[in-house]
Amino acid sequence: MDTILFIVFATVAVVCAFNLVFQTHPISSALSLIGVMGSLAVLYLLLGAEFIAMAQVIVYGGAVMVLFIFVIMLLNAGTEKASSKSWFAQIAGLPLLLAFVAVLAFLIRSALPGALAVPTRAVEFGSWVGGSAEEIGKLLFTQYLLPFEVISILILIAILGAVVLAQKEID
């Protein structure tokens, strides 16, 4: 049952991700991104991270993407026109992309040994139970207190910056 759900939602996530790139209309792309977020949330849920799953939907699926859609609707952005590609992009695009992926894979492999290795043990869905809100809260306020506080200050700075910028606009 868990495996079937995993296959279904992993497929949905990948298809939505491809759709996000291939669609020419901003609204279609944004909606595909919401599809990716939603199916990722289901994958988190399958792994037992219920709090992260719900936070994913509330923050990314809800708040962030609503703002995206809101801005797209407000600007009334139309369908993208395919720009005439330069000869450099046409010739060197695919080889460069492959080279980039290879370098990235090499870097990941050297930085995190075993990250790309085939796992010896199958993933057991629902075997991990550390994903409740309580556990995450405890970790946030003990082990990860410093990063948590730093991020809070970063967000505060961003809010102040937004207020300052908007203030100028009004005057």
Partner: protein, 406 residues
């Protein structure tokens, strides 16, 4: 996952869904009747006795109307929008608990489709995502009124989600849990033997302020008067659903009423103690039969002084129906059949609280005028949001000062 679990779940889903859909259909009748009486009219009367068949007639009307697909719309999103709206609105009911754990024919089960550990977050997630139904409907219609309605709605729902969420956090602090069942169970019992421990009467810091903030935000979240700017008739024709007809229009309509029921259920669970009665147990059991008996007596009394021709027959029939209900609840109250007592009394108190809140929704619609758009935003950001923050800080302070009480 055994066969027992699947069968019980299927029965529960069928029951809840059936009752929910009937409630949605009749909510519209109730709203029209209450509004009519507020405005000294009589409301729907023609179809069936006292217009009771009106919802059925409306459903047939909407089903048989021409399903118009305007040529200038964005087809895919235009068809997707009502689907999103109605699906998300109907899913929420699956995490709402209606009563305690009960035992029927040897099977122990919760009166709830599924008890999620993160029930509150699930509700918030669905309400956050349900903006898309309205926003996409407005955008895909390719119509300036629809677009403005959709934009207004998304801005309004984002803004009012903040005070709503902050108001929700205060009861969460008191209950120390994210599941609806645990939050409701934390409000069981009585102070001094007669004051219920609901969150609105909570001892160190009663959540009256939080409840009011939640209720006001709920009006905005469900796009109801006085915050129904997205469908303001005199400015935007019908707002985001201007271009929709037939069943697609009905979907939006249904989603609106489903959202009202959902949000009043959540308000009941968070602030009004869920299914826990207002009075201590042996005495409160008899409230339900007494109320129903009063309703029966009113019906018989109205039957003796008919305002219309049919009333001489219909009112006594309603009276007899209420008497039968009184009898059933009296049996439940006396405790002869324990399962019946647990189920019916929990459902009575839950339905009574939800019904009261829905009545307030309709009452407000019949009383208040519509806000201006800038007033709406100003109210949310400069008044409601700071107020919710202060409420949250005070609650947190009291929870920290009286750790045993909360």
């Amino acid at each position: 996952m055994n066969i027992n679990f699947i069968v019980v779940s299927l029965i529960k889903i069928l029951l809840v869904f059936g009752i929910f859909m009937t409630t949605l259909a009749y909510l519209q009748w109730v709203e029209r009747k209450v509004l009519a009486h507020i405005q000294l009219r009589t409301g729907p009367l023609r179809v069936g006795p006292h217009g009771l068949m009106q919802p059925l007639a409306d459903v047939f009307k909407l089903l048989t109307k021409e399903d118009l697909l305007p040529p200038y719309v964005n087809r895919f999103f235009y068809l997707l929008a009502p689907f999103i709206a109605v699906c998300l609105a109907l899913i929420t009911i699956s995490v709402i608990p209606f009563g305690p754990e009960v035992q029927i024919f040897g099977v122990r089960t919760y009166m709830q489709i599924s008890d999620l550990n993160v029930g509150i977050l699930f509700f918030l997630a669905l309400s956050a995502v349900s903006v898309y139904g309205v926003a996409l409907a407005g955008w895909s219609s390719n119509n300036k009124y629809s677009l403005l309605g959709g934009l207004r709605s998304s801005a309004q729902m984002i803004s009012y989600e903040l005070p709503l969420t902050l108001a929700i956090v205060a009861p969460l602090l008191l209950a120390n849990h994210l599941s609806f069942r645990a939050i409701s169970d934390a409000q069981a019992g009585y102070y001094l033997g007669f004051i219920p421990r609901w969150n609105v009467f909570q001892f160190p810091f009663p959540q009256v302020l939080g409840f009011l903030i939640f209720l006001i935000s709920a009006f905005a979240e469900t796009n109801r008067i006085p915050f129904d700017l997205p469908e303001a008739e005199n400015e935007l024709v019908a707002g985001f659903h201007t271009e929709y007809s037939s069943m697609k229009f009905a979907s939006f309509f249904m989603a609106e009423y489903a959202n009202i029921v959902n949000i009043t259920c959540v308000a009941t669970l968070l602030f009004l103690g869920g299914w826990h009665p207002l009075f201590p147990a042996p005495f409160s059991n008899w409230i339900a039969p007494l109320v129903l008996l009063f309703a029966a007596a009113m019906c018989f009394f109205q039957g003796t002084q008919p305002a219309r021709k049919g009333d001489r027959i219909t009112f006594p029939i309603f009276g007899v129906a209420f008497l039968v209900l009184t009898l059933i609840f009296a049996v439940a109250a006396s405790g002869i059949i324990p399962a019946l007592t647990a189920i019916l009394l929990a459902v009575f108190w839950f339905a009574a609280k939800v019904g009261l809140l829905i009545f307030i929704f309709i009452w407000v619609r019949g009383t208040l005028p519509r806000f201006r758009y800038d007033q709406l935003m100003h109210f949310a950001w400069t008044f409601l949001f700071p107020l919710a923050l202060i409420n949250l800080l005070l609650t947190a302070l009291f929870v920290a000062l009286f750790p045993g009480k909360a």
